[in-house]
Amino acid sequence: MTVAVVGASETTELGRIPHLSQMQLHADGAFNALADAGLSVSDIDGIATAGASPVDLTHYLGLEPHWIDGTSVGGCSFLIHVRHAVAAIEAGYCETVLITHGESGRSGVGRGGGGGGAASFASQFEMPYGPMGPTTLFGIGVLRYMKQYGMTHEQLASAAVAQREWAGMNPRAMYRDPITVDDVLASRVIAYPFHLLECCLVTDGGGALILTSAERAKDFPQPPVYILGTGESVESPMISQMADLTSSRNFRIAGGDAMKAAGVKHADVDHLMVYDAFAHLPIFGLEDLGFVERGEAGPFIEEGNTRPGGRLPLNTNGGGLSYTHTGMYGMFALQESVRQVRGQAPAQVDGANVSVCLGVGGMFSAGACIVFGKELP
């Protein structure tokens, strides 16, 4: 083992602490441990916690993590975090991990603040203004993006059109009939600027993956699909508190770490999946991963670069907009990357040797990226 504990502390007080919320207890313990280690919050690049969401804690403390663990399986969760942190540090995912606990078990102040409870920041500072889930919030930065970069409603709609074209080649896709930009813009407005066809499906379904060592992987019936690189991060439980409404910090961190770990350049990538709950996500994904410059993704999609026959096949199952979207769609994005690299996709991309799969969690609250390859480097 190459990993050690360098800071440790409990909260300043114990017993009855009715003047601190649960999140404040997390923070108090964290700052005491940082002081014990002679570190500041900016030294922390990995975060693990249970009870609270690592997203809430990241935003609350002002962190910018490259590794997170929210394993929450009861009182031993923090031991598990230690074990995961050892693996993460040894793997080079991060250097300095903070693990926190805070619980207002007696006074019950701000309990449940991590999961959208009445005392959470999101409940206090977003809920009063009438949000109704992702349709009303996920796209709240889109108008700002459009003003900043001149993206048109037609370009946004073209993301849905391109994916429907892929869905048309996929017998399992829920919606397969071709659509035009005019069809998208004529569909009902759900939450301006989003029309119905720019919002994901709502379906039932599921999936699973099985992983083993690369060494053993050669002895299985299916061709191995190697994991070349990975990345993860979290930013804020509130979309209104994103550092930049036109770009996801999580996409940049997770994508950057995954591509770097994989040692692949953009030109090496044959196939791309970007979790598309709404039509702007492929646009943010293309830019935050660095496939195009900021502001160029709308024209890039409109010109057909991500369609069948285009130079960067994107969301080739039809995506959340046309294939399926159960709610936590990430599993389906992973499945399509695996199918493509195996050479078994319904809309197979020729020579799909390297596939990048970018996922989102919440409404830009979390992000993760996996680079898959047919060959080990």
Binding site: S42, L61, Q124, P128, Y129, M132, T136, I140, R144, K147
Partner: protein, 141 residues
């Protein structure tokens, strides 16, 4: 925006670190926090600066001036709102972003122009909670 026949809007539960903010809005003051070490003005409220972790902070009253950064216009039914209504992000002149609603203004893309100047106004939700809302400068004041 909360009209007759609609349920009052959601009233949040303050916590010890946010209580001063909600006490401020109850008195029609928009309170922010500033780090006295690095000068960062931040929101939502915390007992330390989210830039550097310093607990050398002060509470001060914001100007109430803001501009419209972005929004969606929800067309579905909500028990507390008359649809369609805009859910907006505004940037306070002091820097921080916050979610709010834009009142005294048509809830249309034509009327809700990005970067338009706004000023804070307050709406009482309950005895404890008053929420900050924003209206175009010069309208209804």
């Amino acid at each position: 925006m909360s009209k007759e026949g609609l349920r009052p809007r959601y009233a949040p539960t303050p916590t010890p670190d946010t209580a001063h903010f909600w006490e401020g809005t109850r008195n029609h003051k928009l309170l922010l926090q500033r780090c006295t070490d690095c000068g960062t003005v931040y929101f939502p409220p915390r007992a330390f600066c989210p830039e550097n972790g310093s607990s050398n902070i002060e509470v001060f009253e914001a100007s109430g001036k803001a501009k419209l950064i972005s929004y969606t216009i929800n067309h579905r039914q909500h028990p507390s709102f008359e649809s369609p209504y805009a859910i907006a992000i505004v940037q306070l002149d002091e820097g921080p972003m916050m979610m709010s609603n834009i009142v005294d203004c048509e809830q249309t893309p034509e009327a809700l122009v990005l970067d338009m100047p706004l000023e804070v106004t307050f709406e009482k939700v309950s005895d404890e909670i008053t929420v900050p809302l924003f209206r175009p400068v010069g309208e209804g004041s």
